[in-house]
C-alpha cells in the first residue's frame, strides 16, 4: 500500500503499528527465559529420565578414521537426571539474574542458552539410544547436520545481505531451485563440475536480477514478488525437467557427477572435530568463506557500513552521497550468487540428478533462519544448523527404530520460529527500511 509521499521519503517517521515493546512483558517476558530452561530441565527428568533404561553408547569415530576415539558408555536414566538437574540449576541462576540478585553479562546469558540446549540434546540422545545394541554415532550426526544445512545456510546468508540492504528476499527458494537445475544441466553438458557450480551461482543471480528489477525499478511489493518468482521458477524447472530432462535426454542433460569430499590435511585428522568440520565437499568450505566474508564485510568494511545505512535509513545515506539504488541492485544480484551455489549443492553436491521441486521449501526455511538469527550472519548460520539438526536427528532416530514421532520432531523448529518471531523470547527487529522502496527526490 502506498503511504503519504513525505513518509515514503522518511521511513523512520513510519512508526510500527502496535507497540511491540510491551508484547514481551505482556507474556511475562522477563521470566520467560528461566521458566523455559526449567521446563527443559523437567522434560529431561520426567520424560527422558523416567523412560530411559539400559546403557547408551555414544560413538565418536567415523568409519575408516585413522585415529579412533573410545566409545562413551553412559547409564541412560542417570545421565538424563543429571542433565535435567543441571538445567534446573541454570534456570535458577538465570532467575537470580532476572531478579537482580546477581548480574550476568550478555555472553553468559548466551552460554546458558547453549548449555540448556546441549543438555537437552544429550538427554534426548541418551534416552533414544538407551538399551539399544547399536552405538549412536555422534560424528555422523554432526557431519550430516553440517552438510544437510549447506543450502539453508547459504540461502540464509543471501537473505541477510538482501535484508540488510533493505530488500525483502522471499525468492531464496527460487534461487536455490534454479541453481540446482542449472548446475545439473551445465555439469551434465560440459562435464565440468566447476562450470556447473558457476552456472548454478549465476542462476541464483538471475533470479536476483529479476527480484532487483521488479522490486527496485518497478517497486512491486517485495513479499508478493518473492512468492511469485518462486512459483515461476518452480513451474519453469518442473516444465523443463519434464520436457527436456526425462526420457531420451536424461543421460545427456541430467546426469551430472558430484563433488567428492576433500579432507583438509592435518586438520581433518583431529578426532571428532576433524571429520565434522574439515572433511566435506567444496560446498562446505565455500560456506565457511562466505560466512567469514559476509560477517567481516557487513561489520568491518566500508561496503558493509554503507549497505547497513542503505537498509536502515536510505534518505540519510542518500544525503551523504551513497547511491542507494545502485547499492541495492548490486547487493541483491551478488547475494543471488550465494543462494545459487547453495542450490547447486542439491544436485552436484549431494544427489546428482535434478528432480522437480528439489529444494522442497528449504528456501523458506532459510528465510526463517535469517529472521531467527536476528539478521546476523552467525545467528542465521546457527538457526540454519538447528533446522538441519532436527532433520538429521529425525532420520538417524528413525533408522535405529526409536519410538519417537518423527513428524512431531520435524515440526518443532517451525513452532520455535513462530515463538521467536512473536517476540516471546526476545524481540527481533529487522533493518528499518526493509521492503520499502526508495525514491530519490
Amino acid at each position: 500500500m502506498t503511504t503519504p509521499a513525505s513518509a515514503e521519503r522518511l521511513p523512520v517517521l513510519l512508526s510500527p503499528g502496535p507497540r511491540r515493546d510491551t508484547a514481551a512483558e505482556r507474556f511475562g517476558g522477563r521470566f520467560a527465559a528461566p521458566v523455559t530452561y526449567a521446563v527443559f530441565g523437567l522434560l529431561n527428568i520426567l520424560v527422558f529420565g523416567a523412560h530411559a533404561h539400559g546403557d547408551a553408547t555414544l560413538s565418536f569415530t567415523p568409519e575408516f578414521a585413522k585415529v579412533s576415539v573410545p566409545n562413551l558408555s553412559l547409564a541412560a536414566a542417570a545421565t538424563c537426571y543429571a542433565c535435567g538437574l543441571v538445567s534446573i540449576a541454570l534456570a535458577v541462576v538465570r532467575l537470580l539474574d532476572v531478579l537482580g540478585i546477581i548480574h550476568l553479562g550478555r555472553v553468559w546469558r548466551r552460554v546458558i542458552i547453549g548449555a540448556v540446549l546441549f543438555l537437552f540434546i544429550i538427554a534426548l540422545l541418551v534416552w533414544a539410544d538407551g538399551g539399544q545394541a547399536i552405538a549412536f554415532n555422534i560424528v555422523n550426526l554432526l557431519s550430516g547436520t553440517l552438510s544437510d544445512s549447506i543450502p539453508i545456510m547459504l540461502g540464509a546468508l543471501t537473505g541477510v545481505i538482501c535484508s540488510t540492504s533493505g530488500v525483502i528476499n522471499i525468492a531464496i527458494e527460487g534461487q536455490l531451485l534454479l541453481g540446482a537445475f542449472c548446475a545439473a544441466i551445465a555439469t551434465s553438458v560440459t562435464g565440468s563440475l566447476w562450470l556447473g557450480l558457476l552456472c548454478g551461482a549465476l542462476a541464483g543471480s538471475l533470479v536476483g536480477i529479476l527480484l532487483a528489477l521488479f522490486a527496485i525499478a518497478y517497486r512491486v511489493d517485495q513479499v508478493v514478488l518473492g512468492v511469485v518468482l518462486n512459483t515461476l521458477v518452480l513451474g519453469l524447472t518442473g516444465y523443463l525437467y519434464n520436457a527436456l530432462m526425462t526420457g531420451t535426454y536424461s543421460n545427456t542433460l541430467n546426469n551430472p557427477s558430484t563433488f567428492n569430499p576433500v579432507k583438509i590435511p592435518l586438520l581433518g585428522d583431529i578426532p571428532i572435530i576433524g571429520p565434522v568440520l574439515f572433511d566435506g565437499t567444496v560446498f562446505l568450505y565455500i560456506t565457511y568463506i562466505v560466512l567469514a566474508g559476509v560477517q567481516i564485510g557487513l561489520t568491518r568494511t566500508r561496503w558493509g557500513l554503507r549497505t547497513r545505512a542503505v537498509g536502515e535509513h536510505p534518505v540519510a545515506a542518500d544525503t551523504v552521497g551513497i547511491r542507494v539504488l545502485a547499492y541495492r541492485y548490486r547487493n541483491v544480484i551478488l547475494a543471488g550468487l550465494i543462494a545459487g551455489i547453495g542450490g547447486a549443492y542439491f544436485t552436484i553436491g549431494s544427489v546428482g540428478s535434478f528432480g522437480p521441486d528439489m529444494s522442497s521449501g528449504e528456501g523458506y526455511i532459510a528465510l526463517a533462519a535469517m529472521i531467527f538469527g536476528r539478521y546476523t550472519p552467525f545467528g542465521a548460520i546457527g538457526a540454519a544448523l538447528l533446522f538441519g539438526f532436527t532433520t538429521q536427528l529425525q532420520s538417524i532416530l528413525s533408522s535405529i527404530n526409536v519410538p519417537i514421532q518423527s513428524n512431531l520432531l520435524l515440526l518443532t523448529p517451525y513452532v520455535v520460529t513462530i515463538i521467536v518471531v512473536a517476540g516471546l523470547v526476545g524481540k527481533v527487529r529487522g533493518p528499518r527500511a526493509e521492503g520499502i522502496p526508495f525514491i530519490k527526490s
Binding site: M1, T2, T3, P4, E8, L14, S15, P16, G17, P18, R20, A23, I168, F214, A217, Y218, R219, V220, D221, Q222, V223, V224, L225, V228, L229, T231, L232, L234, G235, L236, G238, Y239, L240, Y241, N242, A243, P356, G361, Y364, L367, A368, I371, Q405, N407, L408, L411, Y414, V415, T417, I418, V421, A422, G423, L424, G430, A433, E434, G435, I436, P437
Partner: protein
C-alpha cells in the same frame, strides 16, 4: 468497485506532459477520451498481461519441443517448416487446453452419431460434451475459495501465505467429521462444511492473533504454520490410533460417509458438485462484506492506511484477527470442497498446491471477489485442460504453472506492461502491489 482513498495516488509520478493532458475542463476530442479510457484502465493492463504471458508460454512450449528444435536445426534450408512446426506446437498445446477445459468438438460429433437423443443422454454422450466445463468448475472451486482467502486479507493490508495450513486445518476437520460420524444426508454435509470452516478459521485466527498481539509479520507466521500443519497432518495419518485407516499402512483416512458427499449438480457422469455453488456464494458474501458493511469498510480502511484508521478510531488489531479468521475459514471451505466433493479421503498430499495457486488467483483477480471468481475460473480451466494436453501433445502440465506465474508477475508490475506497450501511467493503480509497506510496518 471501490475508489482507492486519495492516499494511494499514482506510484510513478506522471510526466509533466501527461499532467497537462489530464487538466479538467480542457477541451478533449472523443478520440482522446477513448484513448485515455483504454490506457488508464487496469483491465487493459490485465488483458495485456494475459496476452503477453500466453505468448511467452507459447514460445516456451514451441522451443522445448523436440520436433520443433529439429526443424529449427534446418532453419536455413527450410525456414517455413521451422516456423510452421513452432506454431503447430504452441497452437496445439493451447487448443488441447481448450478442448480439455471448455469444449471438445469431437464429443459433439459423437453425440450426433447416436441413434436417438435419449440414447445419447443415457449413454453419457451428452455428459461428455459438458465434461470439460464441469471439470473446469470442479478445479476452479478450491481455487476461488482459497483465492478469496488471500484476497480478503489483502484488502485489509495483510498477505496470507498460509492458505496451505488453513486448507489442512479444514481438511482434517472435514475428513474426521465425514468418516467418524453417521448423520442424516443433508445434515452431515452441512456439519462437515461448518467443521471445515472452523478448522481453517482456527489456523487463520492463530496467525491473526499472533500478528495483532505481538506484531510478528503474518508472512513469516503463516509460512511457518504451513510447515507445522504439513507435519501435523503427516503425524495424524501415521498412526492407526489417530486418523489412519485401520488395516493398512497407506497413510490415508477411511473414505468419508456417502451422506457427507457434496451433492452432484448435473448427473452422475459429471463431477460438478455443490462446492461450486458454495464458492460462488462465498464470493458474493465477501463482496457484500467488503462493500456493504461497516466491517468491510474498516478492512478496506486499514488496508489503505492502518495508521490513519487507528487515528480514526478503528480497532486495527481486532480487525486483523477477524479478517484472518474469515480468510482461514474460506480456505477451510476450499478443503471441504476437495475432500467432500472429489477426493472423499484425506492423504498427506491432499493440500496440493492450493496455497500458492491461491496467491496467483487473488493477485490476478485484483483482490476483488468478482475478479477472484474470474481468475479462479481461468486457472481452473488451465488445470482442467492440462492433463489432456499432456497426453495429446506431450507438453508437460507444469506449463500451466509457468503461465500462471507469468501472468501474475506481469499483473503485479503495471509499469512493466506500460513500458512494453507504451501505455500512459494510470491515474490509480488497480491492485496496489506496487509500493510495499515493508517488513516492520
Amino acid at each position: 468497485m471501490t475508489a482507492p482513498p486519495p492516499a494511494t495516488e499514482p506510484v510513478t509520478p506522471p510526466p509533466p506532459e501527461a499532467d497537462k493532458d489530464e487538466q479538467p475542463g480542457e477541451h478533449r476530442s472523443f478520440g482522446d477520451i477513448l484513448r485515455l479510457a483504454i490506457q488508464e484502465n487496469t483491465v487493459t493492463i490485465t488483458v495485456l498481461a494475459l496476452v503477453t504471458a500466453t505468448v511467452i508460454g507459447g514460445l516456451l512450449t514451441a522451443f522445448t519441443n523436440t520436433t520443433v528444435l529439429t526443424a529449427w536445426g534446418h532453419f536455413f534450408s527450410a525456414p517455413g517448416n521451422a516456423i510452421g512446426q513452432a506454431w503447430d506446437a504452441a497452437f496445439g498445446t493451447y487448443w488441447a487446453l481448450f478442448e480439455g477445459s471448455v469444449f471438445n468438438p469431437h464429443t459433439v460429433a459423437s453425440l450426433f452419431q447416436q441413434a436417438s437423443f435419449s440414447a445419447a443422454i443415457h449413454d453419457g454422450f451428452l455428459s461428455a460434451v459438458f465434461n470439460p466445463l464441469s471439470e473446469t468448475a470442479v478445479q476452479a472451486t478450491p481455487l476461488i475459495l482459497t483465492g478469496l482467502a488471500v484476497a480478503l486479507p489483502y484488502r485489509a493490508g495483510l498477505f496470507n501465505i498460509g492458505g496451505q495450513s488453513q486448507f489442512i486445518g479444514g481438511a482434517i476437520m472435514a475428513a474426521w467429521l465425514g468418516y467418524a460420524y453417521n448423520m442424516p444426508f443433508l445434515v452431515h454435509v452441512v456439519v462437515c462444511c461448518v467443521g471445515a470452516f472452523v478448522g481453517g478459521a482456527a489456523l487463520g485466527w492463530l496467525a491473526g492473533e499472533i500478528k495483532a498481539r505481538t506484531g510478528a509479520h503474518e508472512v513469516i507466521v503463516t509460512i511457518m504454520l504451513n510447515y507445522v500443519m504439513l507435519y501435523f497432518l503427516a503425524y495424524l495419518l501415521s498412526s492407526h490410533s489417530l486418523m489412519e485407516a485401520p488395516g493398512g499402512s497407506n497413510a490415508i483416512t477411511l473414505p468419508i460417509a456417502s451422506d457427507a458427499h457434496l451433492p452432484l449438480l448435473a448427473g452422475t457422469h459429471l463431477r460438478i458438485n455443490a462446492g461450486f455453488l458454495i464458492a460462488l456464494a462465498a464470493a458474493l458474501a465477501i463482496w457484500w462484506l467488503l462493500n456493504r458493511t461497516t466491517t468491510g469498510f474498516e478492512f478496506r480502511s486499514i488496508g489503505a492506511n492502518a495508521r490513519a484508521s487507528r487515528v480514526a478510531g478503528i480497532n486495527v488489531e481486532r480487525n486483523w484477527t477477524l479478517v484472518m479468521t474469515i480468510a482461514g475459514g474460506l480456505a477451510g471451505l476450499a478443503a471441504a470442497s476437495v475432500i467432500l466433493g472429489t477426493d472423499f479421503t484425506l492423504n498427506p498430499q491432499s493440500y496440493g498446491t492450493y496455497g500458492i495457486d491461491a496467491i496467483t488467483v487473488a493477485l490476478l483477480g485484483l483482490g476483488r471477489p468478482g475478479g477472484v471468481v474470474a481468475a479462479g475460473l481461468l486457472f481452473g480451466a488451465l488445470h482442467a485442460g492440462s492433463p489432456g494436453m499432456q497426453v495429446a501433445t506431450g507438453t508437460p502440465v507444469q506449463i500451466v504453472q509457468v503461465i500462471q506465474a507469468l501472468i501474475v508477475l506481469l499483473v503485479a508490475a503495471p509499469p512493466l506492461i506500460r513500458a512494453m506497450y507504451r501505455l500512459r501511467a494510470a491515474r490509480a493503480g488497480g491492485l496496489s502491489t506496487t509500493m510495499s509497506k515493508g517488513w516492520n510496518a
